[in-house]
Symmetry: C2
Subunit: 425 residues, 2 copies
């Protein structure tokens, strides 16, 4: 990527002790990178430093070298820890000058909040000479220094996101009309190991402007296509050509969706197409499967109820699982998983049922059924299936629960898919 001259690349400087201390993720960085890329701008460097003036100055200077633009987040608040303005003033040799409009807005805001006006708040309105205020209802300003536009944004995600979208990106677009286009596409692959995906795609030849990436996910594999070209149309052509080749090499049988089409969405669409309704019956996942399914808007079209049946009593009372079955095979068994699914389908009058029962740990494991042992049953008019999974004795509870819910969705997808082959465009 770096050897193409028309890439417009920038540096991101994040200021925040809480990131350096490992208290929070730098979620802003990901958002900014993704938003910029979608509009034809790349980041080639991300730097995080603490609220220390000298560190900010040193790294701001580094960012100004070799970048088309610089974005800085954080350190614009009223407290003593907020050193960005002072550092920018020193780094760029621009004295701090009160921005009257912003000072006026701050006075109103401070009065609204019932907070006293103080020197600290007054300081927020003092911006480096030549700065242009970005928005008025939060901190943020821009300075063009040595022809490099520099944007200083608040660290609060909502405020940063608003200014990025409304001020920074439009300004960048007007400053850099001639730039590359970038497109990204994800192919979501089921039922193949990472090595198998690699094997199938070995014959894929390198194409200039196209990068293929492999991202193993929980229970599925993603192949990403990143296309860069001088214009959007060429980009689309490159992307489509790569996508078609990948789909052909992988086989549409293994492709559950593209981009943000997670299994929950795809399964929902397949159910809606068939006018089938779904019911869930969960033991060790405790509602996680239902939660995933109902995270998709419109899930009420195909899901009307779900059961969390943690105890044996709940399994019997709500799903009609025979007590003898529980006694003979134990709650964690293929027989009970199937009975849970059948009972849930009966109760809900649903065509399709998914049931999960297992040992999520950390307690409750035995030699015969160690932590990570999970049985999943799926009943559909197109067929049914019961499977045993071993997600690993040393796995964390949360991972076992996540893997179980994902495996249940894969099982349902395979049964629905087998019913009517999905055509991938």
């Amino acid at each position: 990527m770096a050897d193409k001259p028309s890439h417009i690349t920038g540096s991101l400087l994040t200021i925040g002790d809480e990131i350096l201390l490992g208290d929070i993720q730098n979620g802003n960085a990901r958002h900014i990178a993704a938003q910029l890329r979608a509009r034809g701008f790349l980041l080639d460097r991300m730097i995080t430093v603490g609220d220390i003036e000298d560190d900010i100055i040193e790294n701001l200077a580094a960012c100004l070298t070799g970048s088309h633009f610089v974005i800085v987040t954080g350190g614009l608040g009223p407290t003593d820890d907020d050193r960005t303005c002072a550092a920018v003033s020193r780094a760029l040799a621009r004295p701090l000058i009160c921005n009257r409009d912003y000072a006026r807005w701050l006075r109103v805001r401070v009065a609204e909040l019932g907070v006293e006006w103080s020197r600290e708040v007054e300081r927020m309105a003092e911006l480096p000479e030549g700065a242009v205020k970005l928005g008025l209802d939060s901190a943020g300003f821009s300075v063009v220094h040595n022809d490099v536009p520099c944007y200083f944004l608040p660290g609060v995600p909502e405020e940063m996101e608003l200014l990025l979208g409304k001020e920074v990106i439009p300004d960048l677009e007007s400053r850099f009309p001639d730039r590359c286009a970038y497109l990204k596409h994800i192919v979501r692959i089921q039922g193949l190991l990472e090595a198998q995906v690699n094997g199938k795609l070995r014959s894929l030849e390198r194409v200039e402007g196209v990068e293929i990436g492999y991202y193993p996910q929980r229970g599925e594999n993603w192949v990403s296509i990143f296309a860069a070209a001088s214009n959007e149309k060429t980009c689309q052509t490159l992307l489509k050509s790569a996508k078609d080749k990948i789909v052909a090499l992988i086989g549409s049988r293994h492709i559950s969706g593209h981009n943000d089409e997670c299994l929950e969405k795809v399964v929902g669409r397949l159910l809606r197409e068939r006018s089938w309704s779904l019911v869930t019956a969960e033991s060790c996942t405790g509602g996680l499967l239902a939660r995933k399914i109902t995270a998709v808007p419109g899930a009420s079209d195909y899901l009307d109820r779900g059961f969390v049946t943690y105890s044996n009593r709940a399994k019997s009372e709500l799903l009609g699982v025979p007590v003898e079955l529980l006694n003979t095979h134990g709650a964690v068994s293929g027989q009970v998983a199937r009975a849970m699914a059948e009972g849930a389908a009966r109760n809900a009058g649903a065509q399709v049922a998914l049931a999960i029962t297992g040992v999520a740990g950390p307690g409750g494991g035995s030699a015969e059924k160690p932590v990570g042992t999970v049985f999943i049953a799926c009943v559909t008019p197109a067929g049914q299936k019961v499977e045993k999974y071993s997600f690993g004795e040393d796995e964390a509870r949360e991972n076992i629960q996540e893997s179980s819910a994902q495996a249940a969705l894969v099982m349902l997808w395979e049964l629905l898919f087998g019913d009517t082959p999905l055509v991938c465009d």
Copy 2:
């Protein structure tokens, strides 16, 4: 923090296009920072660059200046995109030399995977002169350059975490026996706005070595205490003193827990202490509340079942909500929330029930009950409560669901807490 000489601070250099493109979070950075801090090491700079040799060289040189140690992650794999070794070799002027032990292990591994031995794989075993291999079953090595220990770790989180814990931190500990101790404490606050928390803590005087931070979370506020001192004991004393003052100023009535004691855990403990069982009945949250409660190990002690009743029919059939009530007041109403809770308690024979019904959107809103309108009911032997919430018409579905589940936990906590005042130590 910066003006104390005994801080041992390092730089973290992350190599990865996928982070710069905004495809993934730099989750490794947070993990490394938190692990280091717990053992008395701080990061004062995090840099992310792409898989470009010149960029790696430039930034590695910057990291070597003014850092006690350097950690680099990523770019150690077998593909052409993995440029770290070549860059380190050039940056430190150390030729690449084959590490025989690692080459031998790679041969075995490659044979196991059924992959062909190739020049690319061979290249993985070529390390900069003077490098010490870290572990044998993954990429990773260390080099001491100009007295600065530099650790090169794989980007795969599991492999990185293993080497960090087993190799990097022990090595750092032996190299820097004289260093600060750091302790972090989180006080979790309920029922106060951020401004109110700030107001109550205004009289808190500054103490050398102690930093107080404010982190608004969904539905609760966190106050963090970060203590730094020359030894662990002084650190603990500083921390305890600050914590006691904060608890006294906030009032224990508003403190739900400390550190990782999320509401789900605290509520579980309070239920267990009372030998009360809990049942959930969820409409718009679709299992999220049950999922949160069952994410806590041992939740089966107090939760034996939960209901996802998305449709009116499910509310009537499973929870006995009268059809007239649904017709008169609508499914999204205080009356139905209460009937759901009462019905769930009856069905489960549980002392405590939590019910949520609302409009999570994006569809389903009306003038009277816009998206974000949620009713929550809680029934306990210590009292009951029904509340209406408005989480915002423009909020994302996921945020409304998360806020609803959190509000339900807060309501339950308040009722349980009111029953027997919690003593905060």
